[in-house]
């Protein structure tokens, strides 16, 4: 009996403690009813900037549990069209991006192949468009000199330097997530990123971006609970003109990221079929 109790005591916490237990988020504004007031003004850092720090989930990716940001919020009625996970250009007429013929051919081929070569399907890093839209959350940690984004999906990691350094020269070693520097324009953190690899998948359809591409992201936190990201893709090799799309996220309270190690038990690779 004693042994069984011991076993139960030992096993019970193991069954439940698969992640950090919920813990109250700090500095959450409360309404008169004591509940979180997600419409309160965004917090600010000691240097006066809006503080983007927090755990954020895509506004369409609500996991349906109480206390984690509430119901899925409606998308902004104005502003750039909203990107989707499958198609960053979904909000444009016909879902069409201003592709050069060669880039259109790349996208067509990727779609015909059932997106089997999407890097994410092989545990390789996703394009930043996919990471902004991914249903798994991301955590922003803002400091005066650098803002770090940890994407739970595929353990993506970005550093956005705000210490005044310039972007690296054009012949820098291409990176999956590129090289990012940021500056403040009013309450928007404007992030410029260059130095991408040539084979970026902006979405899971496979909308391309090349090494010539520059991504400009404007991060705004209009209220405590909302984060809006406007993304402009300026890639003269793939697109006839720059285009801008929006991503909308909401705060997740009292919770944190969960470890995600993609190559832990990857079994799909052997089953992927193209055309």
């Amino acid at each position: 009996m004693l042994r069984r109790s011991l076993v139960a005591v030992l096993l019970f916490p193991l069954a439940l403690a698969a992640q950090w237990p919920d813990y109250p988020s700090q500095g959450v504004p409360k309404g008169p009813d004591g509940k979180p007031n997600l419409d309160a003004p965004a917090p600010r850092t000691a240097d006066g900037h809006v503080d983007l720090s927090g755990v954020w989930e895509n506004r369409r990716a609500n996991f349906g549990r109480g206390g984690r940001g509430g119901a899925a919020a409606p998308l902004a009625p104005s502003g750039p069209p909203t990107a989707t996970f499958a198609n960053i250009g979904a909000g444009f007429p016909g879902g069409q991006l201003p592709l050069h013929p060669l880039a259109a051919e790349v996208l067509k081929r990727r779609k015909e192949e059932n997106s089997k070569d999407n890097p994410d399907a092989h545990c390789l890093p996703m394009g930043l468009g996919q990471l902004h839209e991914h249903p798994q959350p991301r955590k922003i940690i803002q400091t005066p000199a650098v803002t770090v984004i940890i994407y739970e999906a595929n353990s993506g990691l970005r550093q956005i330097f705000t210490d005044g350094r310039p972007l690296p020269p054009k012949d820098v070693e291409p990176w999956w997530y590129g090289y990012s520097v940021g500056h403040w324009e009013g309450d928007a953190l404007v992030v410029e990123t260059t130095g991408f690899r040539d084979d970026v998948w902006l979405d899971i359809n496979g909308s391309p971006m090349t090494n010539a591409g520059k991504m400009i992201e404007k991060f705004r936190r209009p209220t405590f609970g909302k984060l809006d990201i406007e993304v402009t893709i300026d890639d003269p090799s793939a697109y006839t003109k720059p285009f801008t799309v929006a991503f909308h996220q909401q705060i997740m309270l009292n919770t944190d990221l969960i470890e995600f190690i993609c190559s832990e038990n990857e079994r799909s690779d052997a089953h992927l079929v193209g055309k």
Binding site: L14, A15, L16, A18, Q19, N58, R60, A61, N62, F63, G64, R65, R68, A72, T84, F85, A86, N87, A90, K111, E113, N114, S115, K116, N118, D120, A121, C123, H134, P135, Q136, E152, A153, N154, I204, N205, I258, E259, F260, I261, C262, E264, N265, E266, R267, S268, H271, L272, V273, G274
Partner: protein, 145 residues
């Protein structure tokens, strides 16, 4: 088995009706699974892998002649299962009899993408995302990977 075949037929018709909805690849869903081959199977859970990038469980499924085949079902990673109310080693255990709805692998093996698991007490939970979604659509996305 006849019941399973009937379910298969109904689901196939349903899939045809739904085929008008654009089926966007999701973690290369279309490269791995066939959204036009839905499958509903009842069996006994033989093992569970609570792993990334996908969790899996295995089911011993018996046909009306008594032949047993072991099927493998893929689903959400542990992070999504945790957030949607699943508890490892508690919600579904080896030895449980469950009914699974999902879609078959395109390579024709006893491998499928699981969507809904129905437990003996009638409780239903999603173990994986809907077929081919990722493009938003009318249902709020809860799918990851």
């Amino acid at each position: 088995m006849r019941e399973a075949m009937r379910t298969l037929l109904v689901n196939s018709l349903l899939a045809l009706a739904l085929a008008a909805v654009p089926l966007a690849a999701h973690h290369s869903f279309g490269a791995e699974y066939d959204a036009n081959k839905p499958v509903t199977l009842t069996g006994v859970v033989t093992s569970i892998e609570w792993t990334n990038p996908h969790s899996h469980f295995y089911l011993d499924v018996k046909d009306d002649k008594g032949n047993v085949a072991n099927w493998k079902f893929e689903g959400y990673p542990p992070s999504v299962l945790s957030r949607t109310g699943w508890k490892r080693d508690a919600t579904m255990k080896v030895g449980d009899t469950v009914t699974v709805f999902g879609w078959r692998a395109r390579d024709g093996t006893n491998w499928a993408h699981s969507r809904e698991v129905t437990f003996k007490d009638g409780k239903k939970l999603f173990f994986g995302p809907p077929a081919g979604t990722g493009d938003g659509g009318p249902i709020p996305a809860v799918d990851a990977k």
